[in-house]
Symmetry: none
Subunit: 409 residues, 2 copies
C-alpha cells in the first residue's frame, strides 16, 4: 500500500516548528505494509490544502494528515478534505455532545467556534481523541483512505497507537516491513560498524547504524510477505549482533534507559535515590517519566551548591579535600542520597554544565557514582561543552550504567 | 517571491532522519523576500524526483533542494533536475580538477563514482562547497530558480550563509516578512481567538493563533518592501493585542518560561527553592536549563512520597488533615523548600501524574503554591490525563505564574 503524509500548518513553513509527526508516522507505517512515498508540509490555505489532498490521493492509497483540526479559522483540514472529495460538512449531534461534555468537565462553557470540531462528512467516521478537543477523521472513498489526525504530537501518537494502527493492521496488502532496533553503549559509530561489518552487505535484512544520544543503534529492517517470514529472516542477524556486542547492548526497540531501569529495579525489588548537581533535576525527572516509578524511586535532591550537598549529608571534608567536581564527591553524594532517603541504591552526579569552567575543570567534565551497600561504581565523562548535551548525556549514561550494574547483581 | 523546498532521501521517508534542513531554510527565507509555500520530502527515485521538481517549479519562483548530491547511485538530484529541465549533464573540467584536488589533499585517490559530482547542465552554475565533495547547483531557466544544496546540515548551512543568502539578497523582488510572537497563558485557544478577533481579518499583517505547551502564541506576520515598513504595519496590532491580553502575556519571540524567570529573579535579586512531587524533578531541571541559574536557584527536592515531604520539612498534620494531593500540602511544601533551603521564594507542586488516581483525585489534578515571606499564591490545574503532559504543563504553568508574580512585586 502506498502512503503519503501531509503536515498542515503555516508555522511549519515559517521554520518555527519541526515536523516530528511525519517522522513518527514514517517510522511506524512500514510495519503496517504502508510504504511512504512522499511527505509534505502545507500552510493554512484552503485551496493549497485541498490541492495537496487531491494530488496525494492521486498518487497514494492512503493519505495521513496531521494538524489543522483546531477550532480557529486557520484550522482548515476538515474543509480541505471536504472540498477535495466534494462532500459537505455537517454537525454530528453525538460528537457535539461529547465536545460539550469535555468543556463541562473542565468547568468552562464551550466557545461557539469549537462547534466545527463536531462536524463530519458522509465518507468520514470519527476517530475519538480523549486527550483534546479535536477528534480525527477516518475517511474512505473510492478505494482510498484519508486519515486526519490532530497536530499536537501527544494526541497524534496516542490516536495512532490505540486507533489508527490497529485498524490499519487489518488491511495489509503487499509486503510487511519489520524493524528491530538494538541499542548499545560505550562504543563509537565507526567501531560498531567495524564489528558488525559482515551484516552490512545484505539488502534484506538490511542493517542501519545510527549514532543517537543514548548510544549507537543498530537497526535491522526485514521484508517479507508476512510478519513471520520477515522475522525469520532477521533472527540470525539479531542473534549475531547481540553475540558480537555482548555487554554493550542495553535495550531494544522503544526501550528508553528509564524503562530498562524500571524493569531491572522492579525485578530485583530494589529502591533508588539520587543527589544531582550539574544535571539539575533531569536525572530524577527522567526516572519519574516512567509510570509506576513511585514504587522504586525514593526521591531526589538537586544540590546545586556545596552547602546544599553538605546539608543533605555529603561530608564537607570530602568536598574540601577533592573539590565539588570530583569522583570522591560523586561517591559522597551517592552514599548520602542512599542513606538519607533510605534506598538500596544511591546515585550522585557532579560536573560542569557551563557556561564557565569550575575549580579549573572544563565544561563537560562530569563525575557520577552509583552506591550500593556492598560496592561503588564510578563513571567519568568528558562531554561536548554544551549545557543541554552535558545534562542529557550525563543522565542517559548514568541510567544505562545502572541497568548494566543491575544485570550483574 | 514564492518558494518551495524539496528534501531528498529515502531515509527521510523511513522516519530515520528528521528533516532539519527544511526548517532552517524556511526560517531564513522570509527575510529574503521568499515565502515558502510548501515543503516536501521525496525518496531516491528518479521519476518521482523529476516530477517533484516539475510540480514545484510550476507553483513557485524558486525551488530549494537539499540532499541527493553524493557520489552513489542513490544520489539522483542532478539527474532529476536535468530530466525536469530537459538538459544534458556533462563533466566540467574545472570542477573535476577541484574534486581531484580535494581527494589529493586528503591523501586518497578519487573513486571513479565521485566523477558525477563534477557534472553541470547548461543552465547550472556551480555553488562551491568547501566542506565536502558535493558542490551545489544554482540553476536559472525561464525566470525560475533551482538551488540544489548538499544534505549534510553543516555543509548546507555553510553554503546557505556564505553563498545562497548573499546572492538571493540582491534579487528580492517581493517583500520582506517579519514575525513577532506574543506568548500568553491561562486562556484557551478559542477564548484567545475570540478576544483578538478584530485582528484576524487582515492579510497583512496576518495574525496566527497557535496552542503550544506553554500557552497560546499569537504570531503577527508583517510584509513590506523594507523591514521598517513591515514593522510599522505590525506595531498597532502588537500594541492592541498586548492591551487586550494584558496580564496573560508572559513573553515574546524566543522567550522560554525559564529564561523569563531568570531575568525576573536576577532583576529583583531574589533566590528560589523547590519541592516537587508529581513533576519528579522536571521543575528543577527546567530552571537549571538556564545558564547562570546557580546564581538564584538554591536547590530542589523531589519528594515522591509523604515521608520524603515530611522529612524535608512539610508538617505531617497538614498532609494528614488535607491529603498529599491538596492545596494545603502544596503550600506546606513551598514553605518547607523556602525555609529549608534558605531561599526568598519557595515553590511546591503536588498532584496525580498517573497512571492511577490517588486519594480519590483524578489523574491530571495538580496543586502548586508559590511562597514568599509575605504572601502565598495558589495554582490549581486540571490537566489531560497523560503523564508527560501533566509534568510539562504543570512546570510551565508554575514558571509562568512565578514570572507574573515577580512582575507585580
Amino acid at each position: 500500500m502506498k502512503g503519503e503524509i501531509l503536515s498542515i500548518g503555516t508555522e511549519l513553513l515559517m521554520g518555527e516548528l519541526t515536523d516530528t509527526n511525519s517522522v513518527y508516522i514514517a517510522s511506524k507505517a512500514p510495519a503496517l505494509g504502508v510504504t511512504i512515498q512522499r511527505m509534505s508540509q502545507v500552510g493554512d490555505d484552503l485551496n493549497a490544502l485541498a490541492a495537496a489532498f487531491t494530488q496525494a490521493l492521486g498518487r497514494a492509497d492512503v493519505v495521513f494528515s496531521t494538524g489543522g483540526l483546531g477550532p480557529t479559522q486557520d484550522d482548515l483540514t476538515r474543509e480541505a478534505i471536504s472540498l477535495a472529495l466534494g462532500e459537505e460538512m455537517t454537525v454530528d449531534p453525538a460528537l457535539l455532545e461529547d465536545l460539550e461534555a469535555w468543556f463541562r468537565y473542565r468547568g468552562a462553557p464551550m466557545p461557539p467556534r469549537n462547534k466545527k470540531q463536531a462536524t463530519l462528512i458522509p465518507s468520514a467516521d470519527v476517530i475519538p481523541n480523549n486527550q483534546g478537543t479535536a477528534p480525527g477523521w477516518w475517511v474512505e472513498k473510492g478505494g482510498k483512505l484519508v486519515i486526519a489526525m490532530p497536530g499536537p504530537p501527544g494526541e497524534m501518537t496516542n490516536i495512532w497507537t490505540h486507533q489508527v494502527s490497529p485498524k490499519l493492521k487489518g488491511r495489509v496488502t503487499g509486503q510487511v516491513i519489520i524493524t528491530r532496533n538494538i541499542k548499545t553503549t560505550d562504543l563509537g559509530e565507526a567501531d560498531v560498524a567495524e564489528r558488525v561489518a559482515r551484516y552490512c552487505e545484505s539488502d534484506n535484512p538490511y542493517l542501519g547504524i545510527y549514532a543517537k544520544h543514548d548510544g549507537i543503534h543498530l537497526r535491522i529492517i526485514g521484508r517479507g510477505a508476512t510478519e513471520e517470514e520477515a522475522r525469520e529472516l532477521m533472527r540470525p542477524v539479531e542473534e549475531g549482533i547481540v553475540a558480537i556486542m555482548g555487554p554493550h547492548v542495553w535495550g531494544y526497540d522503544d526501550d528508553t534507559p528509564e524503562r530498562a531501569l524500571a524493569q531491572a529495579l522492579t525485578e530485583k525489588g530494589l529502591t533508588l535515590a539520587t543527589m544531582e548537581s550539574c544535571t539539575g533535576g533531569l536525572l530524577a525527572s527522567n526516572i519519574t517519566d516512567e509510570p509506576g516509578s513511585s514504587g522504586y524511586f525514593r526521591g531526589g535532591i538537586v544540590a546545586y551548591s556545596s552547602e546544599a550537598k553538605i546539608a543533605n549529608g555529603a561530608p564537607p571534608e570530602v568536598i574540601e579535600a577533592h573539590g565539588a567536581i570530583s569522583p570522591e564527591t560523586a561517591v559522597a553524594m551517592a552514599e548520602a542520597a542512599r542513606r538519607g532517603l533510605n534506598a538500596d541504591i544511591g546515585v550522585g552526579i557532579t560536573g560542569v554544565a557551563g557556561p564557565a569552567e569550575q575549580e579549573g575543570k572544563a565544561v563537560g567534565t562530569v563525575f557520577a557514582a552509583i552506591s550500593l551497600e556492598s560496592r561503588v561504581k564510578n563513571v567519568a565523562l568528558r562531554l561536548p561543552p554544551r549545557r543541554a548535551v552535558v545534562k542529557y548525556r550525563s543522565v542517559t549514561t548514568v541510567l544505562v550504567e545502572l541497568c548494566r550494574l543491575l544485570k550483574d547483581l
